[in-house]
Amino acid sequence: MIQVFSFYLFAALTILSAVFVIMSRNPVHSVLWLIMAFFNAAGLMVLVGAEFIAMLLVIVYVGAVAVLFLFVVMMLDIDFAELRAGFVKNFPLGLAIALVLLAELVLGIGAYSAGALEMGHAAAAASPQIDGASNIESIGAVLYGKYLFLFESAGIILLVAMVGAIVLTHRERKDTRGQNIGRQIRRRPQDATVNVRPEVGKGVQL
């Protein structure tokens, strides 16, 4: 009873917020509705017993990705009149894309109701079945056991992407004066000051 109620609550809120993501005129509101959708999707994950995935969804998507979206969107200077200006011109294209998506949806649901596709069970045989293990343990056993090399290559691809992004956007700036904290700490009073006792009328030579 409570499961059914929560499922329909989370599912309805997910769809509703997803609709508002594309309906709202203000991009910041769109991102906030997107966050709402992520959050409710996490709720659905908890309902099917995948609490680890749910927490990761919140930590990664809500906690990091969406913050960056929000960051970027908030910085934009939005002119609403300009946003609406190209509506008539772009309408046919938008309509065409919508029709293609609709056709795909109808096709997909039609094919699904005709019977599930036989995809084989290659993975099922070798993956370890741990009875009574928590989410984290089962995922860890599969990810760091059977799929270790795939997992590591994914990590290497991400590392390369990260290094690439840094190299592409990095620019050496000569005019900034960076702070070398080690040098500052090593500096002693005698390095920076001198005590002189000049004769009267002679002045100091620095």
């Binding site: 906030l32 680890f52 989410n135």
Partner: protein, 350 residues
């Protein structure tokens, strides 16, 4: 607690429902009282270190000062700037306050005294603490004013930066405890060092991680010396600039509830939570929540002490500390801890 209500003649669903509501109230109400007293304590400690008296007028020793302040903001008018985005402007403090209360659901106050004893307790805490940034960012944007906006940008960058290293620090703790469950993490600390010291902090390999966690916790909750989000010399009052009345009070309460949560996490993850400092029979006579409370207050004193004595960081220094010092160090420690555990506990090769 569910059994207690079932004995009163309720069926399981109702007993669970009532027990959970009671549990929430049992956590939230003392927490609010604790926040009120901790604000008073913070001001008193700060005053003592600056050779001032601090609040001393309302009630004996000024003990009721926080309640007087609460009454004051309650009676004030809520001013909404005409250019502000009204809905978001009002939602923002509610988010901050709610999120500050949410994470307490998985804190073990005694063995068994935990509202939600879930497998992924620590991940839940991480998830909730990553939500905290939204209250600040939305406030900064919805105020439609430049200082709150600057503050929101700073807060977002700061919280994301330090969450990364906090994540790695927590991974070290989880590796050693072998569980994400908060209760099991506390139990794993029983006699963990030399067989009689309760607490990962006494472990030479985890001690540096505790130091990092304490500092990152200050940065994560935007406490001094990392309070750049409300640096009054640059940003008026930061993201709270346009807020007044109860909306302001919600930020205030939420902020201190978060500070208390960080102190509690310090106690639970590194100092043995509700366990006494030493695994010695007579010490267990004192109830667990008393030990936890003592530890929380100790850490809060450290937080206040730092606030009163350390000058505010500059923004580039803050980022440098987060990304160039804490992140590589915690990453290295994940490798060290997992390598050590692989050598000693899990028997060398896989």
């Amino acid at each position: 607690m569910t059994e207690f209500f079932m004995n009163l003649g309720m069926n399981y669903e109702w007993a669970w429902f009532v027990a959970t509501i009671c549990g929430i109230l049992l956590i939230a109400l003392p927490l609010m009282l604790g926040v009120a007293m901790i604000i008073y304590a913070d001001r008193k400690i700060w005053a003592a270190m600056a050779l001032r008296r601090g609040p001393n007028v309302v009630g004996p020793f000024g003990l009721l000062q926080s309640f007087a302040d609460g009454l004051k903001v309650f009676l004030q008018e809520t001013i909404i700037p005409s250019a502000a985005n009204k809905g978001l402007f009002l939602i923002a403090p509610i988010i901050t306050f709610t999120v500050a209360l949410l994470a307490w659901a998985v804190i073990p106050f005694n063995s068994g005294a935990i509202l939600a004893d879930i497998n992924v307790g620590l991940l839940y805490v991480l998830a909730i603490s990553s939500l905290g940034v939204y209250g600040v960012v939305i406030a900064g944007w919805a105020s439609n004013s430049k200082y709150p906006f600057f503050s929101a940008m700073r807060a977002a960058a700061q919280m994301i930066s330090y969450e990364v290293s906090i994540g790695f620090i927590l991974i070290c703790v989880v590796l050693w405890a072998g569980s994400f469950n908060m209760n099991e993490i506390v139990q794993a600390q029983k006699g963990t060092v030399l067989g009689f010291i309760n607490g990962f902090v006494a472990n030479p390999l985890l001690f540096p991680m505790w130091v990092l966690f304490l500092i990152s916790g200050m940065a994560e909750t935007a406490r001094a010396p990392f309070d750049l989000t409300e640096a009054e010399s640059e940003l008026v009052a930061g993201y709270q600039t346009e807020y007044s009345s109860m909306a302001f009070a919600l930020y205030w309460l939420g902020e201190y509830a978060n500070v208390l949560l960080m102190c509690t996490l310090n106690a639970v993850l590194f100092w043995g939570g509700y366990l006494p400092p030493f695994d010695w029979g007579p010490l267990y006579v004192v109830p667990g929540f008393v030990w936890l409370l003592v530890k929380i207050l100790f850490f809060f004193f450290i937080f206040s002490w730092v606030k009163a004595t350390v000058p505010r960081y500059r923004y580039d220094q803050l980022m440098r500390l987060g990304w160039k010092v804490f992140l590589p160090m915690s990453l290295l420690w994940v490798v060290l801890v997992s390598g050590w555990l692989m050598l000693t506990r899990y028997g060398g090769a896989v």
